[in-house]
Amino acid sequence: MKDLDIWTSMKTQPLLSVQGLSKFYGARIGCDAVSFDLYPGEVLGIVGESGSGKSTLLSCLAGHLAPDTGKVIFDTVDGPRDTVVMGEAERRRLARTDWAYVHQNPRDGLRMGVSAGGNVGERLMAVGARHYGDIRAQAVDWLGRVEIAADRIDDRPSAFSGGMQQRLQIARNLVTGPRLVFMDEPTGGLDVSVQARLLDLLRGLVREMGLSAIIVTHDLAVVRLLADRLMVMKGGYVVEQGLTDQVLDDPQHEYTQLLVSSVLQV
């Protein structure tokens, strides 16, 4: 199943290296001077209030928005490349193969008029799979992994609950075996009970596939359980970053201290 290589080969080469990334909306700051390295198998959480720039940053990293300055260097199969300056066609190919993007609202990441199996199969066909039997078999396998019963394969996502739609979106994204997954509030808008199940699923997938992930959320409990490292943003700047439990248990920045002390205890 899972092999030791993922950890023993903890390469010194970062999978993603972000250097001095800035994005402005006119005079307003989207995000400014963001730098970090993400290594294979690592999960990075980005937290901050609404308008802190965390979604802008994620969009710039995933190539949905063009940053004004800075580099986003991804370790492609052909070696490290700055995705900001690469051609559109090449970046799209990365988005189909090595990257995945899980939207907060599953409707933004799924094709609502296509069956569940079709949603998963489409990603496979985009990378060249042609054999119908293989595609369907893989789709069934992935629906199983995200705990969607095989007899729902021909149903459209519109007939699914919110939690199922989110799990389908995850299956659609991970079926091609990406190396880096961007997630924008993946558990937002879900019931707490569904959220717990999704968290467990994500942890398992990260571990088994050796995925790296960048998760934007405002939920500190989610990052504590999922993220190895944490980045705190405020007003477009990264005010603090470090090991997740260090940032949460011994926050250094004024804003992080406020954030951590504002969480309601259950």
């Binding site: 690592e42 717990a196 968290l199 467990d200 090991l243 260090q246 248990d249 201290q257 406020l258």
Partner: protein, 227 residues
């Protein structure tokens, strides 16, 4: 295995007028493989703070904390993550888990992270849960609904499921009955015998007597200026 020198720490509370509270100064200790060191001192003297600094969730202001060949006080997050994966174990007083995950998987989790096959990891987790007298009918349930003593034992199982060369134990025998206390004490003795370096906080004096080769009073690390 664990060597601390010149370690100091202060908290800056930005939301309370940026008050700076020095809590530790010139802390130093060292623990060899197979040795168990007990931290003593009154409540609030900094035993848990010191332990958290070794674990790496509290930042050191200055000094060094060598665990094997990693200086936790200066290491990058990914080095600390790797250290915790295979070298440094921690039994805290609190169990923090993803809700609804079965107990057996909670205990097997550290092994899975190390790449141990699922079946073997579950088998080792089950054996340890049995040894710690957690009834088998509870293994498939999440530990979040367990009693304090049961949660404590699940936490201990997580900390002993992999033979970590270095172990931090924060009151491992608190809230345990006599039978389970004995099981835990023998687990700790077993870890010592296989060569683990252990730092523990034991309010249980008899346990301290039996396990600890040396005691360090952390009151000696308290800054004098603290009012």
């Amino acid at each position: 295995m664990i060597t601390i020198s010149n370690l100091s720490k202060s908290f800056t509370l930005h939301n309370q007028g940026a008050a700076v509270i020095p809590v530790m100064e010139n802390a130093a200790l060292s623990v060899a493989p197979g040795e168990c060191l007990g931290l003593v001192g009154a409540s609030g003297s900094g035993k848990s703070t010191l332990m958290r600094m070794i674990w790496g969730n509290y930042l050191a202001a200055s000094g060094s904390i060598m665990v094997g060949d990693v200086d936790v006080a200066k290491a990058a997050p990914r080095e600390i993550i790797a250290l915790r994966r295979g070298t440094l174990g921690y039994v805290s007083q609190f169990l923090r888990v993803v809700p609804r995950v079965p107990t057996v998987d909670v205990v097997a989790d550290p092994l899975l992270t190390l790449g141990v096959p699922v079946e073997e990891a579950r088998a080792r987790a089950s054996a340890l849960l049995a040894k710690l007298n957690i009834p088998e009918r509870l293994w498939a349930l999440s530990p979040t609904t367990f009693s304090g003593g049961e949660q404590q034992r699940v936490n201990i199982a997580r900390g002993f499921v992999h033979p970590y060369p270095a172990l931090l134990l924060d009151e491992p025998t608190a809230s345990l009955d006599a039978v389970n206390r004995e099981v835990v004490l023998s687990l700790i003795e077993g870890a010592k015998a296989r060569g683990a370096a252990i730092i523990g906080i034991f309010h249980d004096e008899a346990a301290r007597e039996r396990l600890c080769d040396r005691l360090v009073d952390v009151t000696g690390f308290t800054p004098r200026v603290a009012a």
